[in-house]
């Protein structure tokens, strides 16, 4: 079959080589190359003098390879156009060349010759080191990502306020009053309710409170597991007022209990990394007629989730600072480098940033300005107060003190054009939030070093502005110049919700979770595996990740070695024994840690991942293999040349999944990648399509043997999931991939742009710290601010006085 295909394609040399060429065998990342890791400049020579063997390889390359691959591996038009770059070892390269190159006559380059060519191209342009040397990556100008825009506006809203920290407390503060007026002298009970889900019928809710006339105030904060649109649902048979986001920002008004209207729904976009003030005033009003039974439930439908009572995990009893989540939809960021970064501008983005600026301005007019005026009452002339108000907002937004010139352009000129305060605020904020100073944080080149470090730190750690007290204070005291100073300030943010949110985003990207969005299983084969269970599994995995990062040891290895999971009632019921909770179920909480079990290998054997990386009716060693090799080990795997449908299990009733996959990927051109993919994917075959442990498949014992060839060419034998877990926990390749992913996510630039040895230093530090993830985040901040801290003095705009 494939011979026929080859003959057909031979007329198209590019396609034919595309299938059979060296490049296909070597595999490239599916994402765009970062500058410096991309096409080598054809004129650049290798840095070190070549060894005799490499010299010989260079000559063979010139004679036999350069016509198709270009003089420096850059590719040749009309022949093989993609550059020769990748992450295989010299040994693997040599074997490949020996077997397949030159295309059509591999016998021309065998044994020692193939080895010489491999040595040469590896050193000259193929390896990652060579790529960096040939074209050093640089820090690219980027604009705010959508997450950064949302967080920045939220911080601008709460400028000067102290943001809530993670306290570990959960639930909502509740105050129970006799009578419906919430009079202090009638306060009968204060406690923390883990959640709001009560049905008192016509009884008194607590002792000392009349059944026919009482009121309850719940107070605290709401957190979200991920940014997105939430539908909030209140079911109440009595009067209530619901405030969300700010003390007086009404969310649902059911002041009047009327007829049988008892269900209230409203959607809102909420961003992770914030705690939203939440207050519900509930009243059973005394009346001349019979009171209705008193019930209230606070529920939600999270993005990609199912309806549930908002669990205690997302409620905090302390009242947080007022905050703002911008509702304007923003287009997704560029991900062509494998992580979100602001390197594209489009009309859609431009208009969305305008809409977001207007939305912010309208809230500022409605909420911030009256509050500012109240605090400055009598002290200033009205317009002087307005000027002061705008100045502090714009200085924070534009990340710089306003020079006279900026003051004139962004404030005075706009105020002069508009007599109405509200419209004037809109003008100034629109100008400021559309300015390059807000949208492009990197254009602060004319600012003092510590200010620039503060700007970077806020972006790296919080995706935001340095509106926060500590970063700002350190910058003002010029205390952000040494490694230790940065380390100290960065460490102080480890319990900040924004940093935790950003870390969650990093882990989601590391596990490629956004691409496992829709998990559905064959209802006959897996009865009971429904969307509610999927939502629970997702939560279970996300909490496991959080747990590993934020426990004191913060040990990366636990991602693969932790012998406990996080379970829910649904998970325990479906997965049984190993997913029993270690203790009793607590009221109002969604999740509990499981009993310890050797079947738990951290995230590696998590049913969310394993069922996401499987078909609806069977496992998929290929998906699991690609996941391990690409995401966990950071290796490059090229997408298949064509789309293939998997062989149906029904057509091969006698074969195990392993046998079927081996059959389908047996052609040699498949094997170039699949020998690596399958060998890893098979190791997880003990876990079925929903991630349950199994010993047998179709009556045959599972064969979970596999292997992996490391970046430096070592072959590792793996006997099933436990071996893989042990390997991932300490392997150079996996650690390197994790550190690099973290750097890219936090900094949004390639690590090599901060020095060729940045990655080596970070990996070394990571190992020395006992694989401490929290410390890694801090060190990333240290590394990524070093160029600014050690650079020559700041520069000034041309024509700027002084």
């Amino acid at each position: 079959m494939w011979k026929l295909r080859m003959r057909k394609r031979v007329t198209n040399i590019r396609n034919a080589i595309g299938i059979w060429g060296l490049y296909a065998a070597l595999a490239v990342p599916i994402v765009a190359q970062e500058p410096g890791t991309g096409t080598p400049e054809p004129t650049l020579p290798p840095a070190a003098p070549l060894s005799a063997l490499q010299q010989r390889g260079a000559e063979i390359y010139r004679d036999q390879c350069a016509d198709c691959h270009g003089a420096h591996g850059e590719g040749a038009e009309g022949a093989y156009e993609d550059p020769l770059i990748g992450d295989e070892s010299i040994g693997q390269l040599a074997a490949r060349i020996d077997k397949t190159m030159p295309e059509g006559s591999p016998e021309d380059c065998r044994g020692e010759d193939a080895r010489a060519v491999a040595e040469y191209i590896y050193e000259a342009f193929y390896s990652e080191a060579a790529q960096i040397r040939n074209r050093p990556p640089r820090v690219m100008l980027t604009h705010l990502t959508t997450a950064q825009l949302r967080q920045s506006l939220a911080d601008l809203y709460s400028l000067g306020a102290t943001l809530p920290r993670e306290t570990g407390n959960r639930g909502l503060s509740a105050r129970y009053y006799n009578g419906d007026r919430r009079k202090e002298e009638e306060l009968k009970l204060e406690r923390v309710d883990p959640t709001i889900d009560f049905d008192w019928q016509r009884n008194s809710p607590v002792e000392g409170v009349d059944a026919d006339s009482f009121s309850i105030e719940w107070n605290g904060g709401l957190m979200v597991p991920r940014s997105g649109r939430y539908e909030i649902i209140v079911r109440s048979t009595c009067s209530f007022l619901f405030y969300l986001g700010a003390s007086d920002r009404e969310f649902i008004n059911n002041h009047v209990q009327s007829g049988n209207k008892t269900e209230f729904r409203r959607s809102i976009y909420l961003i992770d990394g914030r705690v939203y003030p939440l207050r519900i005033e509930f009243r059973q009003r005394k009346r001349k007629t019979e009171i209705p039974p008193a019930r209230i439930q606070l529920a939600w439908v999270p993005p990609q989730g199912v309806e549930q009572t908002i669990p205690a995990e997302y409620l905090v009893p302390e009242r947080p600072t007022d905050t703002l989540a911008i509702q304007t939809p923003l287009p997704p960021d560029d991900r062509s480098y494998g992580y979100e970064r602001g390197i594209g501008v489009s009309r859609e983005w431009e208009e969305a940033t305008t809409a977001a600026a207007i939305e912010f301005a309208e809230v500022a007019i409605e909420e911030l300005w009256p509050e500012y005026r109240r605090r400055h009452r009598g002290r200033d002339q009205p317009r002087a107060a307005l000027r002061g108000f705008l100045q502090q907002l714009l200085e924070a937004a534009m990340r710089r003190p306003l020079t006279d010139e900026l003051q004139e352009r962004y404030i005075d000129k706009q105020l002069a054009a508009e007599p109405d305060d509200g419209e004037a605020i809109k003008r100034c904020l629109l100008a400021g939030l559309k300015s390059p100073y807000f949208l492009y944080p990197d254009v602060d080149l004319d600012q003092p070093k510590s200010a620039r470090v503060a700007n970077r730190l806020a972006l790296i750690l919080l995706d935001s502005l340095p509106a926060d007290g500590r970063i700002r204070a350190a910058a003002q005291k010029n205390k952000l110049l040494t490694d230790d100073e940065v380390r100290q300030v960065a460490s102080a943010y480890l319990d900040d919700h924004r940093l935790r949110s950003k870390t969650r985003g990093m882990l989601r990207g590391w596990l490629n979770l956004e691409h496992i969005a829709d998990i559905r299983k064959d209802e006959e084969l897996f009865p009971g595996f429904d969307q509610a269970l999927v939502a629970d599994l997702r939560m279970s995995l996300e909490q496991l990740l959080d747990e590993v990062v934020w426990q004191p040891e913060s040990d990366y290895r636990q991602f693969f070695t932790l012998n406990q999971g996080i379970t829910t009632r649904r998970i325990a019921e479906y997965y049984g024994e190993d997913w029993r909770p270690a203790g009793p179920w607590r009221r109002g909480y969604w999740t509990e840690p499981t009993v310890p079990s050797p079947k738990h290998l951290g995230l590696l054997t998590h049913p969310y991942l394993l069922s996401g990386l499987a078909y609806h009716d069977s496992t998929s060693p290929i998906h699991r293999g690609v996941f391990l090799i690409r995401y966990m080990l950071g290796r490059t795997i090229r997408p298949p040349a064509d789309a293939f449908a998997p062989l149906s299990p029904d057509l091969h009733p006698d074969l195990t999944t392993r046998e079927r996959v081996e059959l389908q990927t047996s052609p040699e051109f498949c094997q170039s990648c699949h020998e690596k993919i399958n060998a890893l994917g098979f190791t997880l075959e003990n876990y079925d399509a929903v991630g349950r442990f199994r010993e047998l498949e179709r009556g045959k014992p599972i064969d979970p043997r596999g292997r992996y060839v490391t970046r430096d060419g070592r072959e590792i034998e793996l006997q099933g999931a436990a071996d893989v877990a042990r390997f991932l926990a300490e392997s150079d390749d996996a650690v390197y991939a994790f550190v690099k992913r973290a750097f890219q996510h936090f900094v949004k630039q390639p690590p090599a742009a901060f020095g060729a040895d940045t990655m080596d230093r970070l990996v070394q530090h990571f190992r020395d710290s006992g694989y401490n993830i929290q410390e890694l985040i801090v060190e990333i901040a240290v590394e990524a601010t070093r160029p600014i801290r050690t650079a020559a003095e700041q520069i000034a705009f041309q024509g700027d006085p002084g």
């Binding site: 640089r138 690219m140 100008l141 980027t142 604009h143 009595c238 009067s239 008004n253 002041h255 009047v256 209990q257 009327s258 007829g259 049988n260 209207k261 009243r283 059973q284 009003r285 005394k286 009346r287 001349k288 007629t289 390197i343 501008v345 489009s346 009309r347 431009e350 208009e351 305008t354 207007i358 309208e362 009205p382 352009r409 962004y410 000129k413 706009q414 054009a417 007599p419 109405d420 305060d421 509200g422 419209e423 809109k426 003008r427 629109l430 100008a431 559309k434 300015s435 390059p436 100073y437 492009y440 990197d442 254009v443 080149l445 004319d446 520069i795 705009f797 041309q798």
Partner: protein, 457 residues
């Protein structure tokens, strides 16, 4: 063809279709000419209704004309309408008969435009049983839905809900417009908010056009600091901004020249100016009322809506009309017995002030030519000024004040009626009918059996 004939003709056309048993859409299909109905509609005049609310009843002796018919007299409270007497209709004998839950004030406002009972609820008034929201849609929202369903009468908003000094509290006493059972519609009582609703988008684009130039100047300044490669991103961005700036400028110039609009309506598309920084405070009530009325006239000129409600304060409203030298709250005064001469006099003055507001609105409409049509805007608009109670100190809902000004409904104007004692549901039905959407009943059908009122057209 005069106005009345046109209305009659429109009604008979609908009647004809109704007798055939087909709706307008089906009729279009039947005739195979979708544009026909629209063409017919284009020849039809616009009809608008504004419902104006003022609270706490009136002083009947100084409100109702002594004589009915065309030779009626305007009493003290209605004197501000003297210049417009030929456009005025007074409707005595209309009673809000709705029983059930809720005190007199609650049913006074909550059943006024809905004609149906309140749900049982937990809002306990001074007497009677507690109640919640209305069980049905109000006539303004019903008409809005009818007009919006027909492309010939559809407008940007359909209806606008204005308020003046409505307390920031959603309860039975502060709502009179309902989109359906248990669905009160909150009036917008902040003129700047109403302005945003009406003109916000346009205004935002004006602001954007004017600040973009300053912003691009800064893009060019920072560009000079950057490397060649980084400049590309900024340059691409600036290009986009410049493009948008140009589009905005041509859009705004276009708008200023009034292109693409019928010649007469150019003015109606201009964004009105509001006095800056007016706080929502008791003493600003006259100015706030004026601002809201101006916005209402403007929005009608632009044909943003053909239905409006205009709710001045709320049921049990307590404005202190210090600008009239009255320091007491209106509701408190309204409970005083008639024998309290001071209160009695003040209540007359208060109600006269409300009438002045109605007269201001009527005059503005009368002075404004109908955009793209004949006569004045008042010729095509009926203001229906009404109240929650007939009289404050008795809380009666008999003889609810209904004073109509203008020709929107096509009724014979310059006349005082007395209907004896009829349920107000029949008036609500009459309004629907006059707006071209007759209905078998409105609100509680028990009060509708006698059909729409007769003798108005």
């Amino acid at each position: 063809m005069n106005r009345r004939q046109r209305v009659l003709e429109a009604q008979s056309r609908r009647e004809f279709m109704k007798r055939l048993g087909i709706g307008a859409a089906a009729a279009n299909l039947l005739w195979g000419l979708p544009s026909l109905a629209r063409a017919a509609a284009a020849g039809r005049r616009k009809q608008r209704v504004v419902f104006v609310f003022s609270p706490n009843g009136v002083i009947p002796q100084h409100f109702w004309p002594d004589k009915t018919g065309t030779e009626f007299d305007l009493k003290r409270i209605l004197q501000p309408l003297a210049d417009l007497k030929s456009q005025v209709i007074t409707l005595h004998g209309i009673c809000n008969r709705i029983k059930g839950d809720g005190d007199g004030h609650m049913r006074g406002i909550g059943c006024l435009l809905t004609g149906i009972e309140l749900f049982p609820g937990d809002i306990q008034g001074g007497s009677d049983t507690p109640a919640g929201w209305s069980m049905g849609i109000s006539v303004d929202q019903h008409l809005k839905n009818q007009l919006q369903a027909d492309p010939a009468t559809r407008t940007r908003f359909g209806s606008l809900e204005f308020g003046v000094m409505v307390p920031d509290r959603a309860d039975t006493w502060t709502r009179w417009s309902y989109a359906g059972p248990n669905q009160p519609v909150a009036p917008i009582d902040d003129p700047y908010k109403m302005f945003d609703k009406l003109y916000g988008q346009t205004k935002n684009r004006e602001i954007l056009a004017s600040v973009l130039d300053d912003v691009t100047a800064d893009f060019e300044r920072v560009r000079d600091l950057l490397s060649q490669e980084d400049r590309q991103l900024l340059e691409h961005h600036v290009e986009l901004v410049r493009g948008i700036e140009k589009e905005l400028q041509s859009e705004l110039e276009h708008k200023q020249r009034g292109e693409g609009q019928p010649a007469q309506s150019t003015e109606s598309h201009l964004v009105p100016e509001l006095p800056p920084n007016i706080e929502e405070e008791n003493d600003n009530m006259p100015l706030l009322t004026r601002m809201q009325m101006d916005l209402l006239v403007n929005s009608f000129m632009a044909d943003f809506a053909r239905i409006a409600t205009f709710q001045i304060t709320n049921s049990v409203g307590q404005p202190r009309m210090r600008w009239l030298g009255i320091d007491e709250g209106h509701h408190t005064l309204s409970h005083e017995p008639d024998s309290n001469e001071d209160a009695y006099e003040k209540l007359i003055q208060i109600n006269t002030w409300y009438c002045e507001q109605v007269a201001y609105l009527a005059k503005r409409l009368a002075e404004t030519p109908e955009p793209g049509g004949e006569g004045s805007m008042l010729d095509n608009t009926t203001i229906i000024w009404t109240n929650e109670l007939g009289k404050g100190n008795s809380h009666t809902r008999d003889n609810i004040p209904f004073v109509l000004v203008g020709g929107g409904l096509g009724f014979k104007t310059g006349v005082a009626h007395d209907f004896g004692k009829v349920p107000h549901n029949r008036l609500l039905m009459t309004i629907c009918q006059a707006m071209g959407h007759p209905t078998e009943s409105f609100g509680n059908p028990d009060y509708c059996t006698d059909g729409p009122l007769t003798g108005l057209a």
